[in-house]
Symmetry: C2
């Protein structure tokens, strides 16, 4: 697994980084954490939150709206169905999930070297998701287009510490709303060979996503034992509080039936879609996620599911969502532990911020989200690079800055090296107090790989930095994304497969009138 | 303990914050962590690092330079003294420290409501230390003056989540080098009533610091049992690797003899003053700190000491120090655990950055230091606000941004509220799925205190933010520090004591010629 394979090419800053990295160890396809998760909450407290979630499921229940087959499934599973309200005997959802949902699964990528393991001690970083706007320092904020979408896919492909191509990395608003999913999935398949996410905005768009993946994977998703390989992990958001709607249920059903993974994510702005307190948010998140994950297991026992949690606070003065504050970090640690107890992979966190600029606010808030994300042991991290403005905008400079931080998270996840070389006792025994260690054999043997090398930070002297143009981090990130895109070389894609993908897309597009969203 | 007592006054942004906070709970004088520290390293690995530190102490030893009385003390304590090199039987330093150094101590402030507990589950935030330059957005970077020094003391006094006035918050280079300690200590006593640090640049300057403190505390530091109260915690840096010099030893001896606390801090740029690997840095840090702390105990058994660690990586390309990278975070977690095992308070971390601006680099790096600082359970945090440019500059905007983050750390340290109100089960039982929680009784009861309210972040819509001037975080911090200084009101200081302080300073200054450093 060489740096070259992961898409870095020579040229400019990115090129210099690639050259430097050529003598470094290969970059892994995902983070295998050697550090244990931080357990903020005691076991008996977690058990109490599970009890509270069961109380919500039993006494309040969850709405499954406009999707009668879901109600039928629940009746058969032993839940109490009252109109669209479903109430669950205590422990039912947990049992359904634990009986069949996998603890960990492989998401296959078009390039097998980019397969990712989701669950366990692994962490997979995926880029920003869902922004209708993009921001760059030259042009400011504007609506996203398919050209931006392709740029983000290319940048994520080239970023050594981004493991996954993501899904709706930005909303290509220049494409009709009922057709853009085809162009988005195509971009992931054409411009990257990392794992990706499918469309969830309608059941038939999920089906289209599966069909495109099937073509890209050679016409058949089944492995030698006849089971479909999981090639997509797609985002199924609850309509919190305590509602699952027909759009998401249809997408989830379509994916689960095809053994494709669903990220079952309550989306909670606490104070609005949930009470203000973290323990209440955690109980509600667990209740909603259990309902959604169990639904997938009813559709197809064993279909991969990820327990998702998107939690932010709101400004109680203005009602605006806030990010990078302590309360969502506490929710994150709590719900991550609940997911471990349940025994399913967990999605949360990211590099979140409310800032409109790639400034200090953006960085404080993003770091205050991504560090707990890694420390809590999150398995799948959406929005890990590029998120700005509460998700309304993808930022080009922000993406490059976040991607650099993800490299630091990769290193942090390795923890303390206690090998003989790591302990370095001999280095002291050969050394005289007061002399520096720059020339010692130990330093010479380790200096290439000793420290993570930031691609964005400027560590030079004030004088050197002034001479170099007195740039901000955002200025340097601006240069970096342009250099990266200029040096982009696409991964190989079989011409026949490419033609088949385009043919499928053409037929689907010509079969329906444009819808403007 | 009212917000008012902590120095916030009405007027401008700070005033609005104070008004908002008037209905909020009082701000505590220091952080009493309810969350447990993150244990990155297993016990047997920590024991191995302790073993390695003993190997260094026994076989390599530590230089105690130009300070013969220290060598005498070590001989009597059973160490092997060879010239200025002191080698220690295994376990000797640990035994000396554990026999008498307190696990926790109270540092008394001029205002007893601002006393801080150092050690245990407590975290005390102190501002930036040692910068010869200051930076603000209007004037850029320039040499620091005593006026800047006083400004920083005032800002720290007014910052609700900064618990300690610090020491050399910046270097007042407009005052002769041999006299500025008098003006610095006076500024801490005059413009703040929080706890502070004394001078360490010479033994007699330490003695001057003690004398000024004695005057300020009413002429006698002794408590009812005749023991001097600890009213200063001062920074004693090792000349790493493995050297203690006469300046620091003289200051440490002076303070320890007077029962004043010494923060015994190896200062390690790994790769230069230590090997590149974290386990080696940890062993060396422990060895150097043990030597320094044990020395203080030889001077006066029971004198408070803090195990300090300042660890950064270096750019192996340019030799420049780097901050906010993963390797120092790993060192931090490791050494914090070693300090807990030893049973003494621990100092490390801060809001560190190499950036020359209050930009995204500054924020990513600072957050990547202060979060591990709190998660590792650090007891005393120097440089917690205002540090820029690897410590060369104090930044006014950076200070305000960091101080805001410290408020978030205070909230994070409270962990998960599992009270009945925190669990909020009733809020669900009274609620209908699909409806928001904004109007519920639970939300109404909690919304004032539910979420930390940033004093810097802008969470408004893009449109509102544009209308408000499209500011950066640094722009808002610029406004905030000016408003804070404009609204500053000094704490009460008895006129007679003030006169006595000034008289002492006048006599000391007139008794020596100016030295230009």
């Amino acid at each position: 697994m060489s740096e070259e394979r992961r898409g870095r090419r020579s040229g400019g800053r990115a090129g210099r980084a690639a050259t430097r990295a050529s003598s470094a160890p290969p970059v892994p396809a995902y983070l295998q954490r050697l550090i244990k998760p931080y357990e903020l909450v005691m076991d008996e407290q977690l058990a109490q939150i599970e009890h509270n979630a069961d109380t919500i499921l039993e006494q309040v229940g969850i709405e499954f709206r406009d999707y009668p087959t879901a109600l039928e499934r629940w009746k058969q599973a032993g839940a109490e169905v009252d109109g669209t309200r479903v109430r669950f005997p205590r422990g039912l959802c947990r049992k359904i999930v634990q009986d069949s949902a996998p603890r960990q699964y492989t998401q296959h990528a078009r390039n097998p070297a980019n397969n990712v393991e989701i669950g366990g001690n692994n962490t997979v970083f995926a880029p920003n998701y869902g922004s209708p706007f993009v921001f760059d320092q030259d042009n400011g904020r504007r609506y996203a287009t398919i050209a931006d979408f392709e740029n983000v896919v290319k940048l994520a492909y080239m970023a050594p510490h981004i493991h996954h191509s993501g899904g709706t990395v930005c909303e290509p608003v220049d494409i009709p709303v009922n057709k853009r999913h085809l162009d988005m999935v195509y971009a992931h398949l054409k411009y990257s060979d990392k794992a990706f996410m499918g469309s969830v905005t309608a059941g038939e768009r999920a089906a289209d996503s599966i069909e495109l993946a099937r073509i890209a994977f050679g016409g058949d998703l089944r492995d030698e034992s006849g089971v479909e390989r999981t090639v997509m992990s797609s985002l199924i958001n609850a309509s919190s509080p305590l509602v699952w709607d027909d759009t998401m249920l249809a997408a989830a059903e379509t994916y689960a039936a095809a053994n494709q993974a669903c990220i079952i994510s309550p989306f909670i702005l606490s104070g609005a879609m949930a009470p203000t307190t973290a323990a209440a948010v955690a109980a509600q998140t667990l209740a909603e996620a259990l309902g959604g994950m169990a639904f997938c297991q009813l559709v197809r026992p064993g279909a991969p599911v990820i327990f998702g949690s998107f939690a932010s606070s709101m400004s109680m003065a203005t009602g605006a969502p806030t990010f990078g504050t302590p309360e969502p970090a506490i929710v994150l640690y709590t719900v991550a532990a609940l997911a471990r107890r349940l025994g399913v992979p967990f999605r949360s966190g990211g590099s979140l911020t409310a800032s409109k600029l790639p400034d200090a606010q953006a960085a404080y808030e993003s770091a205050s989200t991504i560090i707990p994300t890694v420390m809590a042991g999150v398995n799948f991290v959406l929005h890990s690079a590029g998120w700005m403005e509460g998700g309304l905008a993808f930022g080009y400079e922000k993406f490059m800055m976040d991607a650099d931080q993800l490299g630091m998270m990769m290193k942090l996840g390795q923890g303390l090296d206690m090998s003989e070389n790591g302990q370095g006792v001999d280095a002291f025994l050969e050394h005289t107090p007061g002399e520096h260690f720059l020339g010692t054999a130990h330093t010479f043997a380790n200096f290439e790989t000793a420290f993570y090398r930031s691609t964005i930070a400027d560590n030079s002297s004030f004088e050197q930095w002034t001479e170099d143009g007195a740039t901000t981090a955002a200025d340097r990130a601006n240069t970096a994304w342009k250099e990266a895109l200029a040096s982009y070389v696409p991964p190989a894609l079989d011409d026949a497969i490419d033609a088949e993908l385009l043919d499928f897309i053409g037929r689907r597009k010509s079969g329906m009138p444009d819808e403007i969203g």
